[in-house]
Symmetry: C2
Amino acid sequence: MARPTIADIANRAGVSKGAVSFALNGRPGVSDATRERILRIAEQMSWRPHSAARALGASRVDSVGMVIARPARTLGVEPFFAHLLSGVQSGLSAESISLQLLIVEDTAAEIEVYRRWASEHRVDGVILVDLTVKDPRVDELKALELPAVVIGGRGGKGALPSVWADDREAMLSIVEYLAALGHRRIAHVAGTPNFQHTQRRIRAVKDAAPRLGLVDAPSLTTDFSDAEGAAITRKLLSQAQRPTAIVYDSDVMAVAGLGVAMEMGVAVPGDLSIVAFDDSILTQLMHPALTALSRDTFDFGRQAAEVLLETIADPTQVINRRSPDPVLTVRESTAPPT
Amino acid sequence: MARPTIADIANRAGVSKGAVSFALNGRPGVSDATRERILRIAEQMSWRPHSAARALGASRVDSVGMVIARPARTLGVEPFFAHLLSGVQSGLSAESISLQLLIVEDTAAEIEVYRRWASEHRVDGVILVDLTVKDPRVDELKALELPAVVIGGRGGKGALPSVWADDREAMLSIVEYLAALGHRRIAHVAGTPNFQHTQRRIRAVKDAAPRLGLVDAPSLTTDFSDAEGAAITRKLLSQAQRPTAIVYDSDVMAVAGLGVAMEMGVAVPGDLSIVAFDDSILTQLMHPALTALSRDTFDFGRQAAEVLLETIADPTQVINRRSPDPVLTVRESTAPPT
DNA sequence: TGGAATTGATAAACCGGTATAGCTCCTGCA
DNA sequence: TGCAGGAGCTATACCGGTTTATCAATTCCA
């Protein structure tokens, strides 16, 4: 027989549906002997719970969602999401909870998805990425009473549970390393200005500048695209007093920047040092290979999944878990200025 | 009131649950006036169907699955999947069907997922990628009676429904272009040998060689990684009679190959022309930018979703839809041999 | 030894929809 | 005038689980 139900098992075991349910869920109400017998029969008939039936009764769907609001064009080059996803899954698989993934164009669409998911009871909770300043999603999710975890957003008052790494410390470690090499003109090609992590990184550069004796340390924001990364680099390198080092907020922009430098005859690392804030295969494929900040993205995802599950279990607590600090992997693109 | 049910609507409208169900699903059984009234009330109460309840009764979950069996490490760099995913979603969103995504390590794990999905009724169907020769997943899915669509696998006898592009024609167009430029020693750095598309591409090169007067046209298989792509390139360029052009089965390998050429002092495109079988931002970021075969991956995904929905609606038919032929985008990495 | 508490089980309600049998009223036609 | 047939709607069973009220049999304790 295909797809046995608990009624079938009850029949075979000569007990009631309720007894089977108790036995399968490890809750009191049946004797150990009976439980054992029921479990054996269920195993034998290779029974699996019908997810919809369970969801209907227990009002939990054993499924969580994740929406990525970025144009597909800029996605995909970044191993970041692939690793994050794998991590999230590994965190969920232990409880055999499934993941719904959606890629949408913008935040408005993302919020629509949350509304739909909430009203259709499709997920028990969601994982948020790319937190912005005054992010509208936070209030929306609270209103929907949909458990959520923010990745990368350090929690403040009234914030959602989160898993975060210290962007400030990470940026400081990069700038301090460059300053120690002797660089005094360091530019920072940042990402979208309204992302919280972008702001934190910009502030870190700004705060460190006087202490490290940096002459000039501009942070220039972009849309994270290779095109803008290249354009800004071109502008920076065309200045009379050009920077001797550039820090890029993503690997893609760093690679685009390297291309511009080569095109303009600026030697890397001779005339210009380059650091990428994100590591990936991309940075390693380049010549010279790029010095980059490595984060354990997989672990990040795994932790986010764990925190989400705990939040679903008890929505009153607000967990803020700190992830291990990223480390700088030095490769060929950095050297003392000449 | 939060989360109204059809019973609430029925109450408000002064009709029975059944009438509401008829009205909301656009099926006969209620008068136009009543239907209109019910719809208005449902709208007003912002009612949405409870997915689990619907799934339980109608035995369809409005959800499809996709499993990608590749180590997370090699994933992510390839924009291919991101675009494919976006396309699949756009094909599904019309019917507001959700997508379950899973990244696993190998095919065994993938099959396990299908079994679980089938027994738990979590998906109505699945989308398969990376079809291999004698792919065990095909029989498994048939046994599970889980509707499926294969992406990239040209359907034969007893095959699953599919969406495919003509790999053979595509490869021929590349080789013919190179031959027309004057190349006679063309090497092909292929992907994993047991992928069907790899085999078709290899055969295309082999078949075209005599007709085009190619002196030497070896196809060398790899595991799709940048490391093996680089290693094979190193070997090819160390030969006494080295190829004047190399075709790579993926953008990542092509980029790795370009790196090796630069490292060995082989000028591109002066001494060596390079073509990538897949296009992406990667190929455009390089210097020189790589000539590449552009496929409309987004559309590919969209079509796969459509075919899957049709297959779910009527599992007896086996659709094989051909996607538009890919086109060669010529950039800076190809030129006549010197 | 009798009544209370506990254990192990059952029957039935319930979750929120869909599907179906059946009922009522109205219309059309012989 | 009578009756077949259909439109419009209701009542109810059902999907496959979980949960609760109930109950019989046993154990505990005064």
